[in-house]
Symmetry: C3
Subunit: 327 residues, 3 copies
């Protein structure tokens, strides 16, 4: 299964310098690409890799066009990362074997669920009563779409994801927990990707809402009644507690945690491993994790950290003494 | 599908001020409730929301009774949060479509497993040989209940949960890991809820034990031979390493982590994002996470943190010099 | 189902002091073992437990042989932990009921997948087109092995694991995310264990690689194009971001997080709850988590921590003043 270099630019634009009949057999990183393979260069700092690669053809931006042409065949385009993404999509369309059935015979789709005629439900997946799956949405294998949950068009749900598990809500009675039935559902927009084994809980009364273009990696927990704005992306192992309101165009690094009932503005970027314990009202980049260190160093610093407030008092005392002695 | 206001107090007690024949069409939060909807107020600080709500009827405590009555229909009860939980349960009983089959035809229940006649096993779930599922327990879709694991009565296991995966136990031989077969099982009491994609590992020799009334949110990892006391609740993404012994009436915030082989007393509350690295013998509230900050501030503080021990030495040195100079 | 003490040493070596015809009915920890049960002692500091145990027979190392013999029956061997692991394996071989079918009838194995004749695929599991499952590998219930993913011999994949979900890769266009199709797969060596609900993503172009003997606990996220060296072990809730290169013989404690695109040397040990945000080039033990404390203490220290850099400036200022006053 190959692809002509000329066919790529015909589909995706860009300018090809070199042989349009070159048969591309695979897409590959610069370091490992072979003479029949297509690669790409995003970061001009990796120009040395361009010089050394054996790739048959390389996608580059205008700034690297000359260096790439002097090396061999290349496709020059405005945004090589985006162009490369489009090539992977083209590649997959050509090489992917479509599922034999729109709804796999092993899937369980309950009565009263609606699966759009162009949507796919993978093997061993479950779609509950009243759920709605939009056009061209792909539900992979072993996914749960709970009762009344709605997914828009062109979504992709990876294996093991659970959309519409109960939110975690209880009232307390004499120390025991009394369940608050979760009567809301989950509403997911268009072009949303949900990662493997990620969970999006249904709302208690109103729905949990995920807007268009949101991308959630694997093993993410989205609590009930959370609202995630469009085009926000979260890396693996992130947790979002209930009723958080997260803006659009945000990113959350791996294992970042968002506490409940708070608001995060648009364009906020949370570093990996950071716990957001208060609302963030201004766009920006926020961080809060303990820097890793050699264990011995860490132990000394961590021990001192537990006396940090007292240390500040000692500094204050020194400042007072110093002020007195100077008088 | 509606519910008469009068029918609610008939079922659940409390005093209705207003029209018993009012038809409630939905339960809703104060902010969004419509004139045919029922809402509730827990926190007296939200009195303004009560004044503004369009809800047809509001559940309140005695302290808010007057304000609620002057606004319109209300139900007055001792504990409006608990009352509201009971209403959600009533609502669900009335509106939920019972599964057509006790054990869904797509579920796999191995020979020698016992499923109580009033228990439910959802679509595509697996119940292993020798497992026992108690009365009125509901196993949702795509759940694994491993060999010999036992669940009590009235439990609820959300989709994707794995009860009875192998504990993580190995002996080391020349750097390689030799498996210690996990010969114990998991014993879960009554009224336990297990969240979506949560894992509870089987014990190595003895069982992993989860006592009555424990509530585990989604994506939680419970290591082998852990013992969790009754009515303890854990939020999403929590991890509990092996052989931890956790008391009763505890709470662990999201992504809290409990190291292995340690004990936590009853009534201990661990904040979100905190790692419990030592036993906790006294009830109380414990915390340990790096406070989030603007990334630039964090970088400066984190860099200094790595020299914190040396900073303390410098303060000590200053104190010595100051003492000398004062003599 | 019992096992003669003599049969154990016949199978596994070691020296039995006591009755070879003693019938062992169960393996048990020292504290709870009964007179017909077999236990073991690894840590000589627990000698008191040896004195008190009611176990019928105890596995010990040479250092404890005398104490054990004076107490009752024992098996003396070089490495009691390893020996015990072997006994659990023997026990399981004798008592485990083999599955009736190599590939459970409820499993879905796509055309073009290869399952070795001695491998097992559990109930409700999915094996995609082109995937290959090696000899004696056991895929438990409700597992996903994606298209083209390869597992070696003697692997064990726990329930709910997802091997070969899409890596998390997007190009950005006007704030929206454009999918980079993930065209690589996952290659897993021999003797690898993958925990419950753990996810190993397929590579973007090249494969994600997990070498021989790696052990991954539950709810772990392995990003695309990660390479994990042989015999590395990771505890539950660990996250590894994309393109990380992790050495051999490493360990990562629970909820440890490894950022993307970095390298970790062989024999590196990362503590639980620590975020590895930079490459680690030297073997050793590394840590970075905020020490847990009483919440009140934590609040004071955390507040000061946010001014730590300024505190250092104040100390520097004091040092300058002190130096001036001494001149």
């Amino acid at each position: 299964m190959t692809l002509r270099a000329g066919a790529i630019v015909q589909s995706l634009g860009g300018e090809l310098f070199g042989d349009p009949d070159r048969q591309i057999t695979r897409l590959a990183p610069l370091e490992t690409a072979q003479p029949t393979e297509l690669s790409y260069l995003v970061n001009p700092r990796l120009a040395q890799q361009l010089a050394n690669t054996q790739a048959g053809c390389v996608i580059v931006g205008p700034a690297m066009a000359e260096a790439a042409r002097s090396r061999g065949d290349c496709i020059v385009c405005d945004d090589p990362h985006l162009y490369f993404a489009r090539v992977t999509q083209l590649w997959r369309r050509l090489h992917h074997v479509a599922p034999r059935s729109r709804i796999h015979p092993s899937a369980v789709v309950e009565e009263g669920a609606f699966v759009h005629p162009t949507a796919v439900v993978g093997a061993l997946s479950f779609v509950g009563r009243g759920a709605r799956i939009g056009a061209d949405t792909v539900i992979k294998e072993r996914v749960t779409i709970g009762e009344d949950c709605v997914l828009g068009a062109r979504c992709l749900v990876q294996s093991g994801a659970v959309i519409g598990g109960d939110g975690f809500g209880f009232a307390s009675q004499d120390g025991a927990w009394i369940k608050i039935e979760q009567l809301g559902a989950v509403r997911i927009g268009d072009d949303v990707e949900i990662g493997a084994n990620t969970c999006v809980d249904r709302g208690a009364l109103d729905d949990t809402v995920i807007e268009d273009g949101v991308k959630l990696d694997n093993l993410i927990q989205i609590g009930h009644n959370t609202h995630i704005g469009k085009h926000t992306a979260m890396a693996g192992c992130v947790g979002v507690a209930g009723s958080a309101r997260i803006g659009a165009y945000c990113t959350v690094g791996g294992a970042g945690m968002i506490a409940g009932h708070l608001s995060i503005a648009d364009h906020v970027h949370v570093s990996a491993g950071s716990l957001v314990s208060r609302s963030i009202t201004k766009p920006g980049h926020y961080t809060g994790f303990f820097p890793i260190d050699d264990n011995g160093e860490w132990e000394k610093n961590a021990a001192t950290l537990r006396q940090l407030h007292r240390l500040r008092e000692r500094v204050r005392q020194l400042e007072r003494l110093m002020a007195d002695s100077e008088e």
